[in-house]
């Protein structure tokens, strides 16, 4: 560049602006501005009202939870890490005390204290009669008192002794919101102009276009690795891919399963496939109802025959390569000590046994209807076609009925119903076994219910819920699994897979999660 008076002046002006705007120029210099193309953004960024995959991708960048899971060292995140809470202990069997980190600032500089935490988990917001954020109800299940007992201590009391409280502070109910700001602007404005303690501070949010946030250099766990984050809505996958290939985007989400190979073969970008804590499955309708008075699936042997007739491992391998696998029922790696890599399913692929089981039933080729929601779970419909053929091989006649949404899928009559179940983290199998199949679950209670739990299952479940020590809980858990398999009210497929396309030189890995965090632990 030729040095003239003009270039000299403009350079000087530019340096002047940078120093004026950034008190930390050394930090700001080479940090990237990251552009993340997402398929959707939830319309409100209140982290509980906006519980969803499209919200969670943003929330953890703007807000912090009390406790966090360490996925930066271990993709399954079985270790709990003190986050906004530095420690916690059980004061009485039903009371937990959390000690908060000192000097944590919200984005407006206000210092977080116990009042903010008590407000965030309050009756009014989460678990009262008519909570402001009803989507959080089930995460706050069982909490009866939350109180700031000191400037930096909070007590949480539960109805019955609950060893999982610390784990629950990892979920969206553990996000700490600024009480002063929330009360000042109100629930709706907060959702449009969210403020937390997270590594990035909101700049602008337009639910139809994009959300822009910039590095919050006062973050307690800095330095923040990117200058800014932009989550831009690009609904069409091909367009996201084009933007990534052209260098416009740094990260894209949700690559269709059959397109991952294409991304992998494109120079300059890498594809990440992560198996997450969500399990596509179907429930057998085990009930005789008005719409289905002679339901052959009331016979447990027919259900077991169907499970034994399907080569799930083969199907998962064919559809996913090595991206995921078929776990034994409720034996999930995210459960730490409860996870037993050697435990096998009671009913796995065995066509001869399937035929034997089938011979023990009165089933006579009646058509069984399987309701599937179109395109909701990746590869589900393709897998279903394989399964239907394998059932046909032993003489079971299943017809797939694909519908456009869940409420249509829930309309009876159906013999099998598609769904997925999350093993949301409680550190143990509480959620997938007891909340998803127990007496208060939608499998047992909802208008689309499909099951009545057996006596043995209920007994083991109550024992599990009441137990406080690992040995006792683990024994009850294994009894529940045994009872569940013995009644086979459903069949789990595989761990769900999420995929990302990432610019090659961005060293970012979210772990086995659909949540995207761009702090210094995840960007290496």
């Amino acid at each position: 560049m030729k040095l003239t008076r003009r270039t000299l002046l403009s350079t000087a002006a530019a340096i002047g602006t940078v120093t004026m705007m950034n008190p930390l120029p050394a930090l700001a210099q080479d940090r990237p501005n990251l552009l993340i193309a997402v398929d959707a953004l939830w319309e409100t960024m209140d982290p509980v009202i906006g519980i969803s995959t499209s919200g969670a991708r943003v929330h953890y960048n703007l807000f912090d939870t009390l406790v966090r899971r360490n996925r930066w060292d271990d993709a399954d995140g079985t270790e709990l890490v003190p986050w906004l809470a530095t420690s916690w202990e059980r004061t009485t069997p039903t009371v937990w005390t959390f000690h908060l980190r000192e000097g944590v600032k919200f984005h407006d500089g206000h210092v977080m204290d116990a009042e903010d935490v008590a407000f965030s988990i309050s009756e009014q917001r989460l678990w009262g009669e008519n909570p402001e954020a009803p989507r959080g109800t089930r995460y706050a299940n069982g909490i009866i008192r939350v109180e700031a007992t000191g400037p930096l201590t909070v007590e949480i009391e539960t109805e019955v002794p609950d060893p999982s409280i610390a784990y629950r502070m990892v979920t969206p109910v553990g996000f700490v919101l600024p009480k002063h700001y929330y009360e000042e602007v109100g629930l709706e404005a907060f959702g449009q102009n969210p403020m937390g303690t997270g590594p990035y501070k909101l700049v602008s949010f337009d639910p139809s276009t994009e959300l822009v946030a910039e590095a919050f250099d006062d973050h307690w766990n800095g330095p923040v690795p990117a200058q800014s984050l932009t989550f831009r809505i690009v609904p069409e996958y091909s367009t996201r891919f084009a933007g990534l290939a052209a260098g416009e985007f740094d990260v894209i989400v949700s690559i269709p399963a059959d397109q991952v190979e294409q991304v992998r073969n494109t120079p300059g970008i890498v594809a990440l496939e992560k198996s997450i804590e969500n399990y596509p499955m179907f429930a057998f309708n085990t009930l005789n109802t008005e719409e289905l008075p002679d339901n052959p699936l009331t016979d447990v042997n027919l259900r077991k025959a169907m499970v034994s007739a399907v080569d799930r491992d083969g199907i998962a391998q064919a559809l996913w390569g090595g991206a995921t696998y078929v776990p034994a029922p409720f034996n999930f790696p995210e459960y730490g000590d409860y996870f037993d890599p050697d435990r096998k399913a009671a009913y796995s692929y065995d066509p001869d046994r399937a035929r034997e089981l089938l011979a023990m039933t009165d089933y006579d080729g009646e058509e069984l209807i399987w309701h599937i929601t179109r395109g909701f779970y990746p590869n589900y419909e393709v897998a279903a076609e394989f399964m239907v053929e394998q059932w046909r091989d032993i003489g079971i006649n299943v017809r797939i009925r694909v519908v456009d949404n869940f409420s249509l899928a829930y309309q009876r009559p159906f013999h099998m119903l598609n769904m997925s179940m999350s093993s949301e983290f409680s550190g143990d199998p509480y959620r997938p076994l007891w909340l998803d199949w127990g007496p208060n679950s939608s499998r047992v209670n909802a208008s689309h219910k499909t099951w009545v739990p057996t006596e043995g299952y209920l007994e083991a479940g109550e024992r599990f819920a009441a137990a406080q020590e690992f040995e006792e809980r683990n024994a009850a858990y294994l009894d529940m699994v045994r009872e569940w398999e013995d009644d086979t009210p459903g069949m789990y497929f595989w761990r769900n897979v999420v995929s990302y396309g990432v610019r090659e030189d961005l060293n970012w890995d979210p772990g086995n999660s659909a949540v995207t965090i761009f702090d210094r632990l995840y960007i290496k």
Binding site: V212, I233, P235, G243, A246, D404, A446
Partner: protein, 307 residues
């Protein structure tokens, strides 16, 4: 003439009422919005809570009359997700759609008229055949396919991203989506201009003009083109509808944050109030566009005024 205007306006109102009713019915029979709002595996109490909050537990007739009553008072409902007024959400998105649609309309009109005129003046020659071939291609090409081909070509061959640019978008970012959106109209304008111009050129008044010694260029621009353009007014009025309907696909493909993308998302998330209002607004746009075309005819075609 008063009778003509009155009958047109009455027809417009009835069209809108029928649209509103059909949308109201269909959206309630295509799946429960409360179930869509709650997480897929939410317990029944949560779904019921949403249903009560949305008034979906009321009898159908009560919901319908209540809805019409609120419409009459200018209350277009609120998004079930964000709680914001549907009207406001629509207005936020409208400028993007108008910008895209406006530019698409200008591109398709200018290119369509120009190509059509060139074809007409070169009738039977290779230029004519090339233009007509292009117009068939333009008309027949599905815009989602054309859009994707444009985007992927730009990205994989030239390392240029042609999709939506977000809030920081420049005018260049609009060309690819506007071309995609306007392509079909461009094709039909070109064909229409060609045939209309050929017909006009052979009319007796053109022969009279030539006999009066008016130069060729003036004859073409001042006598032939304006007369040939009259039927195009109808065509443009009708294609306003296809610009808006087409924007649903184009905006989705190009990540263009307009009304079309909003409609797709609102339908997918069962945001009933927003879907109802958007369909109403789109229907109203088409009805009003057609009404304006009808009334324009009063101005440009004296024969109707005489009725």
């Amino acid at each position: 003439m008063i009778g003509f205007i009155f009958s047109k306006v009455a027809r417009a109102v009835i069209t809108l009422l029928v649209t509103v009713t059909l949308v109201f019915i269909f959206i309630r029979f295509s799946g429960d919005p409360a179930a869509a709002l709650a997480p897929p595996d939410a317990p029944q109490e949560v779904i019921d809570q949403y249903r009560r909050a949305l008034g979906l537990d009321q009898p159908f007739w009560v919901q319908y009359t209540g809805y019409l009553n609120r419409l009459a008072h200018g209350d277009f409902g609120y998004s079930i997700h964000s709680g914001r007024p549907s009207l406001q959400i629509f207005l936020d998105r409208l400028p993007a759609t108008l910008r895209l649609g406006g530019i698409a309309l200008v591109i398709s009109l200018v290119a369509g008229l120009g190509l059509g005129a060139v074809a007409a003046l070169n009738r039977g020659r290779p230029v004519d055949r090339a233009v007509m071939g292009f117009s068939v291609f333009a008309f027949a090409m599905p815009n989602f396919l054309f859009g994707l081909v444009v985007i992927l070509t730009g990205s994989l061959m030239f390392q240029v991203y042609l999709g939506g640019q977000g809030a920081s978008g420049s005018i260049f970012g609009v060309v690819a989506p506007a071309l995609t959106l306007g392509l079909a109209s461009m094709g039909s304008y070109a064909r229409f201009t060609r045939s209309s111009l050929l017909e006009t050129i052979n009319k007796p008044f053109m022969l009279a003009a030539e006999a009066r010694g008016i130069p060729y260029k003036r004859r073409l621009l001042r006598h032939a083109l304006p007369n040939a353009a009259i039927p195009l007014v109808t065509l443009v009025g009708l294609s306003l509808g296809s610009l808006i309907a087409g924007s649903v696909v184009t905006e989705q493909v190009f990540a263009w944050p307009g009304v079309g993308q909003l409609l797709v998302r609102s339908v997918a998330t069962r945001d009933i109030a927003t879907v109802q209002f958007l369909v109403l607004a789109i229907a109203a746009t088409m009805v009003i566009a057609n009404l304006i075309v009808d009334l324009l005819y009063l101005v440009i075609d004296p024969r109707i005024r005489a009725r």
